[in-house]
């Protein structure tokens, strides 16, 4: 028994009972975290069943009576829901299109920096925003943009003489501000993965290209980019899969009644209809949550499938 290899060997020829006796300790370790994991991840997953059942307070999270597709029909006929749905897709797609390439470009440019110390400095500083709370990000934004004391309004007023604008309250500025703060918070951090991919490129390729007289721009275009394409692809799949899950907390913090035309997304709508509501409609909100969760799952698996077919890269 003692000369067993570190990893449990394949079970060939060993009875199930014997196998368990040999490895019971591993299963014992697994017990608590697994139970925990199932409780907090899988019970809520099955809690989605509430989308088809009527909720009654104090009777648990699974509802009391089957209602079929009633709650789905309800929200599908609800203009507010469709507004939230459109807002989610629009904001998410805009965010993806604008913010997806930024870390890639940033990583490529960083890699071209010749001063290693300066490179290190830029990297270190650019990761900081990732670790700052959304509350702090939005608070800073509010201060910068404040109509009474914010520096932006002050500068604009001095240059153009225009009256101050309450940016945080204007629907037209919500999306640009959301996208810009996302860029500020995550571009540096997301670049890490691309940087690592670039570092992994065989130096001989660059050397060969240099001997052939390629310029640096050409090397970026013909060597760096194609080589990190698989990484780009995988990151893109992940992003597309999360198209329906925006930074809910940030949206909630930036939400005001006057910008709700564009800032009410699925998540905030669900939140307003359930937890934040005076008369919570839990089943209704769960149905919406399930609807967007299933779409998300479909998006992830289909973009993963597509990527595997087209590039041979996939995440699972």
């Amino acid at each position: 028994m003692k000369q067993k290899t570190a990893s449990p060997p394949p079970a060939k020829g060993v009875s199930a009972k014997r196998y368990f006796i040999n490895h019971w300790q591993l299963y014992a370790m697994l017990l608590l975290p697994l139970a925990y994991f199932l409780l907090f991840k899988y019970v809520p997953m099955f809690g989605n069943i509430l989308a088809f059942r009527r909720f009654r307070p104090l009777t648990g999270p699974f509802g009391v009576r089957w209602e079929g597709l009633r709650y789905f029909n309800q929200f599908l006929g609800q203009p507010d829901f469709w507004r939230a749905f459109r807002n989610t897709l629009t904001l998410s797609a805009m965010n993806l299109i604008i913010n997806f390439p930024v870390p890639i470009i940033f990583a490529i440019l960083l890699n071209e920096l010749r001063s290693l110390r300066f490179k290190k400095l830029v990297q270190t500083v650019s990761y900081i925003p990732r670790f700052v709370s959304t509350v702090v990000v939005v608070s800073i934004l509010m201060e910068l943009l404040s109509p009474s004391s914010g520096v932006l309004n002050r500068v604009i007023q001095q240059i153009t003489g225009n009256p101050p604008v309450f940016y945080m309250n204007e629907a037209a500025y919500f999306r640009p501000l959301y996208i810009l703060t996302d860029m500020w918070q995550y571009s540096g951090w997301s670049a890490i993965i691309y940087l690592a991919a670039i570092t992994g490129i065989d130096a001989d390729m660059f050397e060969a290209a240099r001997i052939d007289g390629a310029s640096r721009t050409q090397m970026i275009w013909y060597i760096t980019l194609p080589t990190i394409m698989p990484t780009i692809m995988v990151m893109f799949i992940l992003k597309v899969g999360h198209l329906l899950s925006l930074g809910f907390e940030k949206v909630l913090l930036m939400y005001t009644p006057s910008n709700s035309v564009v800032s009410d997304i699925i998540d905030t709508y669900v939140y307003r209809m359930s937890i934040a509501a005076t008369a919570p409609q839990y089943s209704y909100a769960t149905a919406i949550g399930l609807f967007s969760g299933v779409i998300g799952l479909i998006l992830v698996s289909s973009s993963n499938y597509l990527s595997r077919r087209l590039t041979g890269e996939s995440i699972y």
């Binding site: 079970a11 709370s133 907390e249």
Partner: protein, 291 residues
């Protein structure tokens, strides 16, 4: 121009562009914080007259004095410290216990559990099922509501599993020959080698707990609020969740105070950051290898 003088590998236009971009990035990351620091140390008169930009005007610590005199601030700060400490501790224990057996890909049932873990990264209960689970477990209004559900993060778990898998297998074999059982191996062999990984994952987790405000908002009572939620309540009096409280709305004093709270609540992260930075990055990469 560039191809005319063929000094191989040198393109000044590209270099200029790169430096321009990098300096812009540096400024963009640093200036907002400098602005808030300047605001927090400036007199309300200077703020009122729009004289503050990146340097404190009429330097004073009045805003900080007021923040520190506000009893709820220390309460909230203490709450945050407690949640962060215990949240991270529980999370690390759970994840080590989970990651070690899962790192053995020949263990029967391992692949099933891994599939469950990965699937739950892409699909789960939404806001409401989670909320109702917490309330029916009677956790609402207790600290556990914001600590327990987040103890196992799939991404961090995968980081840990990858770290353990990267350890040389001979170590464990030798330990088994010496008569150590799996618990012994985990505690005496694996754990000491895992410190870098635990630092990484622990930091991610700690940052998560430090920055959380939403779960505190929906699960906790006001005396249990962490500092981020206090900040949010001070900063906004206008959002849809309108139980904004806190410091009075005498606008220009309030700005200095808000700034002071922003700074004090973010300070631990900013101060620790330079020292911990290498762990953050390492973890991100290990997690990304196979995620």
């Amino acid at each position: 121009m560039i191809h005319k003088h063929r000094i191989k590998d040198k393109s000044p236009a590209l270099d200029a562009l790169i430096w321009f971009v990098m300096i812009f990035v540096l400024l963009a990351c640093v200036l907002p914080f400098l602005y808030i620091i300047a605001m927090s140390f400036s007199s309300s008169r200077a703020i009122l007259n729009n004289r503050v930009s990146l340097w404190p005007v009429e330097f004073n610590v009045e805003a900080y004095r007021q923040v520190f005199a506000y009893p709820n601030f220390f309460k909230a700060y203490g709450n945050t410290l407690i949640y962060t400490f215990f949240g991270t501790l529980i999370s690390l224990c759970m994840m080590v216990l989970f990651a070690y057996p899962l790192s053995k890909n020949r263990l029967k049932g391992q692949s099933l559990v891994m599939k469950l873990v990965v699937f739950s990264m892409f699909f789960g209960g939404g806001l409401v099922p989670n909320y109702l689970l917490i309330s029916s477990l009677k956790l609402t209004g207790t600290v556990f509501a914001i600590i327990l559900p987040f103890a196992i993060n799939q991404f961090n778990l995968i980081i840990l599993i990858n770290f353990i898998r990267s350890l040389p297998e001979e170590l464990e074999e030798a330990a088994r020959i010496d008569g150590l059982n799996y618990f012994g191996i985990l505690i005496r062999i694996i754990l000491p080698l895992l410190t870098a990984a635990l630092a990484t994952v622990g930091l991610y987790t700690a940052v998560f707990f430090w920055n959380d405000w939403f779960y505190a908002l929906i699960y906790l009572k006001s005396y249990q609020y962490p500092v981020m939620l206090l900040l949010r309540n001070i900063v906004n009096g206008t959002t849809m969740v309108g139980e904004a409280g806190g410091v009075g709305e005498k606008a220009f004093v309030a700005i200095a105070i808000k700034s002071a709270v922003i700074i004090t609540s973010t300070l631990p992260i900013i101060l620790l950051y330079p020292f911990l930075q290498k762990y953050f990055v390492k973890g991100m990469l290990v997690g990304a290898i196979k995620g």
